[in-house]
Symmetry: C2
Subunit: 367 residues, 2 copies
């Protein structure tokens, strides 16, 4: 009888399942793209300071100190920034703002499955557009949907497309669509294009400068990966102020807590830390990619803090390899995409973690 | 053109406006029911400990340590608890889980306006049922809606009612509906009844024991008020495990951060602090109520950490009094409810704050 209270769309959902989080601290986690290093000490100083000031008051409702710091960094205005309780909060707000029941959301495939779950919760449909084999996007991705079959009860509708998600760099592939191509896609679409730049700090390029000229472009960012703050839950988006104004109505009144605001502000102000951290991650990423290729894996060039690994032939089962690594205390992400295939997504850990993981892989392959 | 991307329901919304948060620290805030005291030092110890451990990993997805501590306190099982980024996050999750586009949500009036905003975001309707003059609820509140007018295009539907919200104690009145009456209301409704117990720790009674026998009852709580942690954003709900299971699908994967989980867990384990804090607040509340009554205000007995104050006749303008207090650095909440009237909601501060505020009110009244 409990189920009878629940909207049928929710009952039908499987729900998004995040990567495994082992209970103890024994396992080496290379499965959810966390940063293996500790965030800037300035972040922790800021947290201790809030603890001294106390938490009995509500936080700033729009995380204004962070908006100002981020606006300065990106050369935009603070009213172009909306902060969220992790970028998942922002993806939720975006979907609720733009996509109504029965409408349509588009995402590439394979990518972040959460976009699809968000459509389901809205009672909306989603359309997965497959990447080409080289992880470029087909022309269709940037176009209106094909007209639906005419029916005397339901008119032909090509204007149901209300939102398009594009993670860039993409997960699980780590590949990048160049900003010029993104501009072209956004300009062809009849609705907002959300470029999810969760991993952009590892990419060397991003789309922020396009915001000035492309009105339907929205960029989301997270502090979880490049700033080593997955435990903090803080993300932000950048868009035209008129869009931000509408999105604010949909967010919870106080969606970012006082500690997260102070910590994220300290983090984004410490660009020296980011630079240094990025250099370490990128060096280890290259080492991981090169060795995996030597071992016979097909590894696309990664622009993120992970690599996507598929063996060159069917002699190696990614699932068996995943289980082998797990048994030895190394968690990587086994991904299986219907109609596409499976593989392993390995987060870039420390050099030592990656070397140990590579040794386990070699042993599994019998090298 | 930006507006054309946005769902019409969102465009039409005014958006919920939270209480004023002055920029400096000069004003005495008696307007958003924050606790005037500092949270337990055990909370701040827990925060400092997380800062030592670091934040590079994702938090526990369901805040399990908190669930276990709260379950022990309330004598229920951990799977009956869902944690949120403030109780607003939970109200959002509840509305999205139960109320679809075109469906109906019920709330009492005057109460927490947010419930109505949440219905609007869902593209749902809301039905405000007025409290009686003595802040009791009319019978209708616990019944199915009246059948809609028949129409050949739209069938009569009385089953559109999908969720009922009842804050208890209520805001702005501070009044309480007894648990026996709540049980009766829940049992008559065809949908879940959410009892928002944000202020229950100040009330001396609550509805948790009803959960065992009433399947459609859901109780929400917040750490913002009685635990003095408005800046932390942490709330939780209690319901049957089968309902919690569905709600989990709708929440963001990691909706509570690692610091909030540790801090809220430390807070709920320190019941001695809660007891002591409650005693102080209740003593000041009585003093505030008694003096306001002496001054000619009608003040219902409050079961929360604020009082609701309406002058006995029209010789005193609540709005003018609010402005007078604001001018002197005391922020209280001026509330004006269409078709009901206006008044001042005054949060219970420290004795000193309340005495100063009362002196300002006396001066305004010319006593």
């Amino acid at each position: 009888m409990y189920r009878s209270y629940v909207r049928p769309e929710i009952l039908a959902m499987g729900g998004y399942v995040p990567g495994e989080q082992p209970k103890g601290n024994e396992a080496v986690k290379l499965n959810t793209n966390e940063n293996p290093y500790r965030a800037s000490e300035k972040v922790y100083d800021a947290i201790r300071q809030v603890a001294v000031q106390g938490l009995s008051r509500y936080p700033n409702a729009v995380a204004q100190p962070f908006r100002e710091a981020a606006a300065e960094l990106f050369g935009i205005t603070p009213d172009m920034i909306l902060c969220g309780n992790g970028s998942d909060d922002l993806l939720t707000i975006l979907t609720r703002t733009f996509v109504g029941s029965g409408e349509l959301l588009r995402l590439p495939y394979p990518s972040y499955i959460l976009y699809k779950s968000l459509a389901e919760i809205q009672g909306a449909e989603s359309e997965e557009v497959r990447f080409n084999a080289d992880w470029s996007l087909p022309d269709y991705f940037g176009q209106k949907p094909v007209a639906e079959t005419a029916c005397h009860l339901r008119p032909v509708k090509t204007d149901r497309l209300k939102l398009v998600y594009l993670p860039n760099p993409n997960s699980p592939s780590g590949t990048l669509i160049p900003p010029e191509r993104i501009a072209q896609i956004a300009q062809s679409l009849p609705c907002p294009l959300v470029v999810d730049e969760a991993y952009a700090d590892f990419a060397g390029t991003h789309c922020v400068s396009l915001l000035e000229t492309i009105p339907n472009l929205i960029i989301t960012r997270t502090m979880s990966k490049s700033y080593a703050l997955a435990g903090l839950r803080f993300g932000f988006l950048m868009a035209h102020p008129e869009l931000v104004e509408q999105l604010v109505k949909v967010k919870d009144s106080y969606n970012c807590d006082a500690i997260a605001i102070a910590a994220a502000t300290a983090a984004i102000k410490d660009q020296d830390w980011l630079c240094e951290n990025k250099a370490k991650i990128l060096a280890t990423r290259t080492r991981l990619r090169d060795r995996m290729r030597e071992l016979g894996f097909l590894v696309p060039d990664s622009f993120a803090n992970f690599t996507w690994n598929v063996y060159r032939d069917e002699s190696v089962s990614p699932r068996q390899l995943y289980l082998h690594l797990k048994e030895h205390g190394y968690l990587v992400r086994y991904m299986s995409y219907a109609g596409w295939g499976d593989g392993l997504r390995i987060s870039v850990g420390t050099d030592e973690q990656i070397d140990n993981c590579l040794n386990l892989i070699e042993r599994f392959l019998g090298r």
